[in-house]
Every structure is written in structure tokens, then in C-alpha cells.
Symmetry: C2
Amino acid sequence: MTVISAIQENPSRERVEATILAAAEEVFSQHGYRGASLQVIADRAGLPKANILYYMGSKQALYVRLLNRMMRRWNEVLEDITPDSDPATVLSDFIRTKLVLGQRYPEGSKLFAAEILAGAPFLNDYLAGELREWVASRAMIMRQWSAQGKMDAVDPRWLIFLIWSSTQHYTEYSAQVSGILGRDALTADDLESISSFLEHVILKGCGVALPAHQPSVGRPSGGEVSFE
Amino acid sequence: MTVISAIQENPSRERVEATILAAAEEVFSQHGYRGASLQVIADRAGLPKANILYYMGSKQALYVRLLNRMMRRWNEVLEDITPDSDPATVLSDFIRTKLVLGQRYPEGSKLFAAEILAGAPFLNDYLAGELREWVASRAMIMRQWSAQGKMDAVDPRWLIFLIWSSTQHYTEYSAQVSGILGRDALTADDLESISSFLEHVILKGCGVALPAHQPSVGRPSGGEVSFE
DNA sequence: CATTGTGTTGACCGATCGGTCAGTATGGCT
DNA sequence: AGCCATACTGACCGATCGGTCAACACAATG
């Protein structure tokens, strides 16, 4: 009878689902939950509408599945820091990682942004629970850094929001950025320039003591992270 | 025959239109252009749906009218700066003004954000024209500041984007901020704390020379702008 | 009084919405 | 061969979409 499973091992099913998820991510990220239509998603995926519902169950199930996938991508990269960590490298990594994540998953990032704009109806629990604790724990460590004289006595919550907003801006407002720069998309050089700028301003602005080997103002740092 | 006019002088018409615009701004800002429905707008305004179309013509006309109104609000406050201006006061005013604007017109700001997220279908000309020139002219002045040694040699475009993103964050991501802070809305104290933080980090981070009377780290600046 | 322009709205239009379902195709098992 | 679970989809459902229109209310003008 082969009983259970038969779901996991089918490679064709996974490929179809991946196609649907990619198409849905595009549409939801542009038009939000209510503005997206299953017909448009189906057309973009090259499948009949009924097929979308066969695999995903409902519009809402598809949507929350995309949200969860994006949250998972986030958490995979969220580093562990301690009071003994070096603030300069932690903040620097934080900035570069966030920037790279936005470039790697532009649709997912916009999907998240649209959800927040709509008042976070599906993410309220996550924001007031998991994410809130994440912020609180990071804030506590940063406050210890300040007490140890490693950085200025700034409010860590505002600092975290600053890094989030300034990095996310380049994915969620890509239409604005492109329009103003007169370019279709950001180049690798742009991204290197942006991350150097943000590192410079934020670290210096918080009075973070630089480790000895840190390069000066405008140049690439050597590269734990690459924009290629 | 009283010929033309008869449109401007009617106070009742203006009041009705203001009601509709306010209701529409709420709905569009939450759900974007496609996600918003005229029926919901009408219900929120306390009017029959046909009445909305009588006054506004079409969904699209209503939407672009809201966009234009928001652009106008922006331009009213956009200050004029010269190479001789003091970078510290200009940047400081810029930050505080942006923060206040977001608090004064939260729905309008979110409306703008949703439009950009959707790929700016109605704002492409504005972004690549008017706004682009605004950025270019400001950037040129900032580069002169850098040449004069008044601030670090940072890329002015990234600096402008940094101020935009970090201030807008608190209106467009208000649902996230509230969820994390565990508060329904930001208080006047929050806003004072945030703007002090942003001033501190961004000015210091750009190596902006402070004018003599500038107060130190955490305190209010005396207040050209108030959050009451 | 009659006429006219503006405001107002219920009823209706074809199109599209998310979702259901019956029916068919298909591939692996006995 | 027969059987059965899974994959797939055209046709259809009631609800809602943006938009039109004819009918009506009403105040001002002649």
C-alpha cells in the first residue's frame, strides 16, 4: 500500500511547486495580497488556474507559504553575536549580509514589505513574538558594548531599524532608485559602493572602534561577501 | 448664465471631495492600486459607490489625484540649499522635516510606497524627471561641501537615500515597529529620540563639522520642528 | 409656474474574482 | 489484463470588480 509519504520523494511535484511559488512571489510582491489574482499567477507560471489550487489549496495558503519561506531564508543567515564580539565586524557583516539578502531575494523582500504596508495581518504574531525577542537580545548585547566603551550610547533599537531600512531600501524602492540613477538595475560596483558608504557612515556615526586591519573610507574591505 | 466657474466656489463639493480623498488614501495605502476597491472606499466615506465615480470620474483618476496631492505636499517643504549653507543645519533639518512629514501624512507616505513597490507605473516620469534633477542638484552642492572639507567625501546620492529610507521607515513600517516595540503608535518622546539618534549617527558618520551652538549627543536641539 | 443645471443613487452591465467539481489521463502495482 | 491513487483541467458557481445610466431631488432662474 506504500502507506504514507509518496509526497516528499516526487521530483516532478517539487519542480511544479517551485514554478508556482516563483510566479506567485512576483505577483504578490508587486500588488500585495488583495491585488494579486490567481489567474495572473497561473498565466505567469504557464499553468491552468485550477492547477494552482490543486497544488496550493487556496490563495491564502499560497500566500502564507511564501511568507514562511521568506522568514526561513532570513533566519538561516542571522548570525549569533556575544558581548565579546567585535562591534565593527558584527555591524559590518550585518550591513553587507542584509544588502546581499535583498539582492538575492528581491521578490521575497518586496512581498514582506507589502505585507507590512497592509498592516501585517498575517505577520502580527511573528513581529510581536519571534522577531521582537531577536531585537531585544541583540539590543542587550549592544548596550553592553556601549557600557564597555566600544561604541556610543545610542539606542540599539533605532540602530537596528536604521540598518534594516537603509539596506532594504535598495530592493523595495528599486523602482525609485533606478529612476533616479537612470539605470535599469544596480551594478556590482554600485552595491560595493553602497555597502562601503553604509559601513563608513553607520560605524563612524556610532563611534565604533575599528579593528586594526580595517581599510579606510571608500574601498572594498576585501570581501567576506561578494556582490558578483 | 454665470458662464464658467461655479466649480471652485462650492464649499459643499470641496467637503465631499475631501471626505472621499481621505477614505481613498487609507484604502489605497493599505492595499495598493489593484487591491483597493471602490466599494470599500465608498463604505469608508459613507457614500454610495456611484457617488465616488460622480466626483472622481474613475478609479485611476482618483488614484493619480492622490499621488499628485502627495507630491505637492512634498515639494512645499523642500528647502533650498546653497554651497554656502551649513551642512549640519541642512542635514539636521532634512532629517527632522522628513520625519515630521511622514507623521503628518502617514497614509500618503504609504500610498507612495505602495506605488513604488508596484514598479511605479504612474510615477516613472516623475522619478526620472523632476525628482532626479532634485537629487542631482542637491548632490552637486554636497560634493562642494566635501571639496571644502565641510564633510567626508561620501557619495551624496547614497546619503540622500539613507535619509529617505531611515526616516520613511517609521511610517511605512509602522506595523513592524509597533509590533517590535510593543506599542500601538510612536509617542512624541519616541520621535524625539529617533530624530536625535539619526542626527547623531548621520552627521557624525559623514564627518559633518558641527556649528558651535550644537548640543551634544542625546538631547533635543531646541526645536525648529516639534513632534507635539 | 416651467425650465435647467447640479447632485444623488439604485439598478444594472460584462468581466473577473477565488474556489469547486466532475471527468479524464496516466503510471505503478497485482 | 484490471485496479487504484495521483495528476490534471474545462466548465461552472456565486460574489465582487469598475463603470454606466436612467430616474429622481432640488434649488435657482426665467
